[in-house]
């Protein structure tokens, strides 16, 4: 791959005495959409704010296009970095019309006519032509989000950062807007970093996924790779529910309630964790017996909480074709190709 447009190395930052970033490394490439996923308090927003220049690092470095933006001592102010930011609450200027909000970042860098043209282009792209003269408080949440995005993209930044950009929208709108937003961002060709705590959102938007926990990036890679090959239980949990089976290898096998599973290339006696996603379980006459405790229908599938014969609690996701009732007993088998293995 080409040179990264932005490199963060060993970023450290504390707020109010609490360490928030504990050595974060990150590379952004042109045209790539990167999602940082993590629980609240993981330091995602602080990382984003440090890249934007709204926070100064205490140690580590941020380099963009060969220029140092932050070396832990000197920090280039935000207004000189020209990074596009879509804030969580959008932060539209309440006293300026949609058009003037979008034009704000163009002043000084573009001639008046060129600026007007650029604003018109963005307004068209965001499909908000009818709202050009409206004020922010007259817009719906989705419209405000589109204005915020257009405003951030107006000066054609190389890097665009989005802080939980869809979190305040309702679900249906979120999906539509997400699609439109990603289209606009990809057309702009900038390197994008999206911060989110929503795994679905991260999967739908990102080319590259970074899992963040407690001030550190704990795993990064393509969404599929990160999903299928988690490096730890906690990184697996960030992406969704997971069942964990712990066992000891005996003659290259491990005993589970689904029967013995082959674990090649492992020394006898070593302890392993098997991570089983809920969708890796399926109904089978020959499977292990479970009692259903609770059922939730979600996106056309049913998600069960069930207790195994050994008392272990499991989560399984099955097709809705055959609805299951609470209290029912059923037999579940394991798709061995869909489990991942973690050694201590």
């Amino acid at each position: 791959m080409s040179q990264p447009v932005l490199s963060v190395r060993g970023a450290e930052k504390s707020l109010g005495g609490n360490p928030i970033l504990k050595g974060v490394d990150l590379d952004l490439y042109c045209g790539q959409v990167c999602a940082v996923l993590g629980p609240s308090g993981a330091g995602k927003s602080t990382l984003l704010r440090s890249i934007a220049g709204l926070e100064a690092l205490e140690a580590g470095s941020i380099i963009s296009g060969g220029q140092s933006w932050d070396d832990g001592k000197h920090s280039t102010p935000a207004e000189q970095r020209r990074v596009g930011v879509v804030f969580q609450d959008y932060a539209l200027f309440p006293h300026l019309t949609v058009e003037k909000n979008i034009a704000f970042g163009l002043k000084g860098s573009l001639a008046k006519d060129a600026a007007r043209e650029r604003v018109a282009e963005l307004i068209g792209q965001a499909e908000i032509s009818a709202l050009a003269q409206s004020y922010p408080h007259e817009l719906s949440g989705g419209e405000q989000q589109r204005v915020a995005l257009a405003r951030a993209l107006a000066p054609r930044p190389d890097i665009i950062l989005l802080d939980e950009p869809f979190s305040s929208l309702d679900r249906r709108l979120r999906a539509d807007l997400r699609e439109q937003t990603m289209k606009v961002i990809r057309e702009a060709g900038a390197a994008a970093l999206i911060v989110t705590h929503d795994a679905d959102e991260a999967f739908e938007t990102a080319d590259k996924l970074l899992l963040m926990e407690d001030g550190r990036i704990i795993q990064s890679g393509s969404p599929a790779d990160v999903y299928c090959h988690p490096v730890s239980i906690s990184s697996a949990r960030l992406l969704g529910d997971i069942n964990v089976v712990t066992g000891t290898v005996d003659r290259a096998r491990i005993a589970t309630l689904f029967g013995e599973i082959a674990i090649p290339d492992m020394q006898d006696g070593s302890s392993v964790n098997l991570l089983v996603r809920p969708e890796a379980l399926r109904e089978s006459e020959t499977g292990a017996e479970f009692t259903v405790e609770d059922i939730r229908i979600r996106q056309g599938r049913q998600r069960l909480r069930a207790t195994a014969s050994d008392g272990g609690r499991w989560i399984a996701e099955l097709p809705l074709a055959h609805p299951i009732k609470k209290g029912e007993t059923l037999r579940l088998a394991l798709d061995e190709t869909a489990i991942s293995l973690l050694t201590d």
């Binding site: 020209r82 932060a91 309440p94 951030a152």
Partner: protein, 535 residues
């Protein structure tokens, strides 16, 4: 966030110094100065009366103003009737009438030789004439304060009533409560903290007043302070009385603060949709319109009408033009300085640093200090400064600091800093740090952020702040009485002096000019508040 520059903190501490300085000076001199005979004499004779009058006047004013203000606020927030839109801001107008002006009008109208009683007496109906109430004494003063100060309760109550989630009352109705039960069991308890805040303002103003209680023969502690200085010439005795007075005022102030803290819990979150107004028709609508008209008549039209009649029938007072010039000059200068101070303090609060916030909050305390206290404090401070300069200079320092316009403006600032801080703070509160950050990421530097984001958003609030301080200074009497430079009378002082001589015909014109000068500012401020509430 990067550490803010020194600006906000400096402004905040300056505001705190100006506002809190006089109060601290009063406390210091009260504790340290030798006890004079005057105060002992006062303790034995008048102090009980002062305290008693203060209590009666204040509680009467609170009860009446509470009733009028709550009623009016509820009607405007909940009912629809002819003239509602005009009443909505017109009900705030009596605030432009200083209590002493209303007192002149009401006493002249209702006294034994006034136009109400005279025809009855001439017709031989002396018994009936004797039955007519005369607006005089502590109860009369309470009435005058009620009809001029009820807008404080009205404005706050109206906002509280319209902010209540309509579903709250709907829920009560669906649970079987009658309209009356809903009002007394749900609505009133929910707005009670807001009402208490309004009432506390009424109390603070009543306690601080000098002109009305002096004219109506109900001398309160404020009168005592002014007399101790102007009559007996004793700063120490004035300061000791001022401490007692300040205690009363802070009691009311504490009530207001506490109510406001609780009011936050009382407000409901979620959908802020406007409740549907109950449309009145027929006799009910006429009664509602009349009920809204009455307070405006009592607080504004009746006393001003009487004064207007007097002004037109009696020979004019002398020195009114000079008084107007002095009043306008003092009010404008103070308004501009206070707006700047308020803005600086608001920025100090926004900076979020402990020091900035503390000092700006300290500055707000000045509002609780009655004008007489602020004036005595300024007197003490400037006298101390003069003494210091004299000793440094080794003789009489050329600038006579006491009894100059400077000391007076300082006292005004001390008293009214809070009036300017509140609107500036509200305005600045909508300028979130997020907006600064958004502007920065779009390449804007500090100066552009200030000019294009902050300034347009706070201009309105700063303007309101200046207007409100202007109005307050135009009306101010006790501090002006104590500190005015020799031969520099303001309209308020001229009016008071004539009224004290029972020459109401001459007091009328300056009184009317004060109201005329403050009404446009009041309308602007009230309308912008109304707009803000209905948005």
């Amino acid at each position: 966030m990067r550490a803010p520059g020194p600006g906000p903190a400096v402004f905040g501490s300056l505001a705190a110094l100006v506002a809190a300085g006089p109060i601290l000076a009063v406390a210091w001199i009260a504790l340290t100065a030798p006890w004079g005979d005057y105060l002992l004499h006062l303790l034995q004779t008048r102090l009980t009366g002062y305290v008693l009058n203060t209590l009666i006047v204040t509680s009467t004013a609170m009860v009446l103003a509470g009733g009028i203000g709550t009623m009016a606020g509820w009607m405007i927030a909940r009912l629809d009737f002819p003239g509602r839109h005009i009443f909505a801001w017109a009900l705030a107008l009596p605030l432009a009438v200083p209590a002493y002006v209303a007192a002149y009008g009401w006493l002249d109208l209702t006294q034994a030789a006034g136009p109400l009683q005279t025809p009855l007496r001439e017709a031989g109906l002396t018994g009936l004439a004797d039955l007519l109430p005369v607006v005089r004494g502590p109860l009369g003063a309470g009435f005058v304060f009620a009809v001029t100060l009820y807008p404080y309760v009205y404005l706050i109550a109206r906002q509280a009533f319209s902010e209540l989630h309509p579903d709250m009352q709907n829920a009560a109705r669906t649970l079987g409560a009658s309209r009356w039960q809903t009002l007394t069991g749900i609505t009133l308890p929910l707005v009670r903290p807001a009402l208490a805040a309004g009432l506390a303002l009424v109390a603070m103003e009543s306690i601080a007043d000098f002109g009305a209680v002096a004219h109506l023969g109900a001398p309160t502690l404020t009168v005592g302070v002014v007399r101790a200085w102007a009559g007996a010439g004793s700063v120490a005795d004035a300061a000791r009385l001022a401490v007692v007075l300040a205690l009363f005022a802070y009691l009311a102030f504490a009530l207001e603060r506490q109510s406001r803290a609780r009011a936050r819990f009382g407000q409901t979150s979620g959908g802020r949709r406007q409740p549907r107004l109950i449309r009145l028709t027929g006799a009910k609508s006429i009664i509602a319109s009349l009920a809204c008209l009455l307070p405006i008549l009592f607080g504004l039209a009746v006393p001003l009408g009487r004064l207007l009649y007097l002004a037109m029938t009696e020979p004019a007072a002398r020195g009114v033009m000079d008084g107007l010039t002095n009043s306008l000059a003092l009010a404008s200068v103070t308004a501009i300085l206070a707006a700047l101070l308020g803005l600086g303090a608001a920025y100090a609060i926004r900076s979020g640093t402990a020091f900035g916030v503390l000092s700006a909050r300290l500055a707000s305390l000045g509002y609780a200090a009655p004008g007489a206290v602020a004036a005595v404090g300024a007197l003490v401070l400037f006298a101390g400064l003069q003494a210091l300069l004299d000793s440094l200079w080794g003789g009489r320092f050329p600038v006579l600091l006491t009894a100059t316009a400077g000391a007076l403006v300082f006292a005004y600032l001390s008293r009214f800093a809070a009036v300017a801080i509140a609107p500036a703070e509200t305005a600045l509160a909508q300028v979130t740090h997020r907006l600064d950050e958004a502007a920065k990421t779009l390449g804007a530097r500090r100066r552009r952020i200030a000019a294009e984001i902050h300034w347009p958003l706070i201009l309105g609030g700063v303007g309101i702040a200046a207007l409100m301080v202007f109005v307050e200074v135009m009306k101010e009497l006790p501090a002006t009485m104590i500190l005015r430079p020799f031969n520099t009378d303001t309209l308020a002082v001229i009016a008071h002096n004539y009224a004290a001589d029972e020459r109401l015909g001459q007091a009328a014109l300056p009184s009317l000019i004060i109201v005329l000068a403050t009404i446009p500012a009041m309308i602007l401020a009230a309308r912008s508040l109304t707009r803000g509430a209905s948005r």
